[in-house]
């Protein structure tokens, strides 16, 4: 029910709308619930609405954490 997916904003339109790309499929969504969205941003899409922006730096940090653990796990 709370399922939501990261999508890339490729166009910001009028009336709080945007066009997003989901792995090649484009779709119009609503930006009524999220401020300051720019073209190129990744947003979390839920039932037609962008709910939050995805922070690429934080995503990298989390992925790096897995990699660090990867070494720790190998060592253990």
């Amino acid at each position: 029910m709370c399922l939501a997916i990261p999508v890339k904003v490729i166009e910001v339109g009028a009336d709080d709308t945007a066009i997003v790309d989901l792995g090649g499929v484009t779709k119009e969504i609503s930006l009524a619930l999220l401020a300051d969205v720019q073209v190129g941003d990744y947003v979390i899409l839920h039932v037609g609405y962008a709910l939050s922006k995805l922070d690429p730096e934080e995503a990298e940090k989390t992925l790096a954490l897995f990699a660090e653990l990867n070494q720790a796990g190998m060592a253990a």
């Binding site: 009524a32 619930l33 992925l63 897995f66 720790a72 796990g73």
Partner: protein, 375 residues
């Protein structure tokens, strides 16, 4: 797809499993509740429990809106469709929930009810615009993730003067459900459900932020790690919980920092606060009547409240006697403990709500884990 595939890498999962295996202390057992159905689904689908040491037990929580929706609420929606002749718009999740008289929304549709599955409240509004002579009701269920889109729809309907649109509001609140579990006798007095920590919601937290969980960490001394819904997110969160338990810490940590902040989405929170207020009490399947655990539409938007417009009364309906959904939703029983599981109750013919949604504990176990027990 970007930001999904990287978080499903099998090799990294194995190594995270090795890290968890190295982190657990010998002779100690760990019991964590994943609150959300999204996590339950990920754990089953990716076989995460097979990657965990036997001393870690994952307890499925009540964070599946379809599962906790009581029969009486579905009856109200069916009544609207069959007796009041409205166009009832609903997310697909609710269609197969068993209701009274052997009905479900799907069966009510087969009997002629004008029930339409929508992807978004935007679609429900469009149906109302296209059918000015018909009453259109949106059956709004879900936790804090799904509530803001309903608020937007109600405000949009007001702006446009869409007077044939209304909402049957069944939105519920995550923190109230967590409190209810922590206060339950199984956890507090009898200790039959040991709980050493929680995996906190992913998308609910994008809206409400991580702050609301701080109370549980402080007051109940339970660690909470907010995690994304991808398998590596869940593994990482389990590792973080194990470390907190080992170190005697009870803090709120955020594994899903790529999308969740401490304050959450303030714009969405404002919209919700503008349209909704706390309901004095709401019945949950499994948790019974929980005070201040759900939302209702404010007086200001009363014209869009289907309960007021159609003078609907909620009537509590007991679950099927043989169904263990209630105990499963409180973490007291596992799906395979229920004698209906996989026999008369299957995803094709669900008797209880936990078998309906793919994120329900029973449906998840039926789809991905049931042969493991036989092996």
């Amino acid at each position: 797809m970007k930001y999904i595939d990287e978080f499903r890498d099998g090799e990294l999962a194995k190594n995270l499993a090795a890290s968890i295996g190295a982190a657990v202390e010998p002779g100690r057992s760990y019991s964590f509740m994943e609150f959300c159905g999204g996590h339950t689904h990920a754990i089953s689908r990716y076989g995460l429990s097979d990657l965990l040491p036997p001393t870690i037990r994952m307890v499925h929580g009540p964070g599946c809106p379809v599962c906790v929706l009581p029969i009486g609420r579905v009856d109200m929606a069916i009544d609207l469709a069959l007796k009041q002749g409205v166009i009832l718009c609903t997310y697909g999740d609710t269609l197969r929930i068993p209701a009274s008289d052997g009905l479900s929304l799907m069966k009510a549709k087969a009997r002629g009810g004008d029930i339409r599955m929508v992807y978004s409240t935007i679609d429900a509004l469009q149906i109302a615009r296209d059918n000015p002579d018909r009453e259109v009701v949106f059956f709004a269920i879900g936790f804090e993730t799904t509530t803001p889109p309903t608020a937007v729809a109600i405000q949009q309907a007001e702006t446009e003067g869409l007077s044939n649109f209304s909402v049957l509001c069944c939105h519920v609140l995550t923190p109230s459900a967590i409190s209810n579990i922590l206060e339950s006798p199984e956890v507090r007095q009898w200790g039959t459900v040991p709980l050493d920590g929680f995996i906190g919601p992913a998308h609910v937290s994008t809206v409400i932020g991580s702050r609301p969980y701080e109370f549980f960490a402080e007051e109940y001394r339970k660690p909470v790690v907010i995690a994304g819904f991808e398998p590596l997110d869940v593994m990482q969160a389990i590792l973080m919980l194990v470390r907190q338990v080992n170190e005697g810490r009870a803090e709120v940590e955020n594994e899903f920092s790529r999308a969740v902040s401490r304050d959450g989405n303030l714009k969405a929170q404002d919209r919700v606060a503008e349209v909704f207020e706390l309901r004095r009490e709401f019945e949950w399947r499994g948790l019974s009547v929980v005070p201040y655990s759900a939302l209702k539409i404010r007086q200001k938007y009363a014209a869009f409240d289907a309960e007021r417009r159609f003078k609907l009364d909620y009537r509590s309906v007991p679950d099927n006697k043989a169904c263990d959904c209630g105990a499963i939703l409180r973490g007291v029983k596992k799906p395979q403990d229920c004698k209906l599981f996989g026999t008369v109750c299957t995803p094709e013919n669900p008797i209880g709500s936990c078998m309906v949604s793919s994120e329900g504990a029973c449906a998840a176990h039926y789809s991905y884990g049931r042969y493991k027990d036989a092996a």
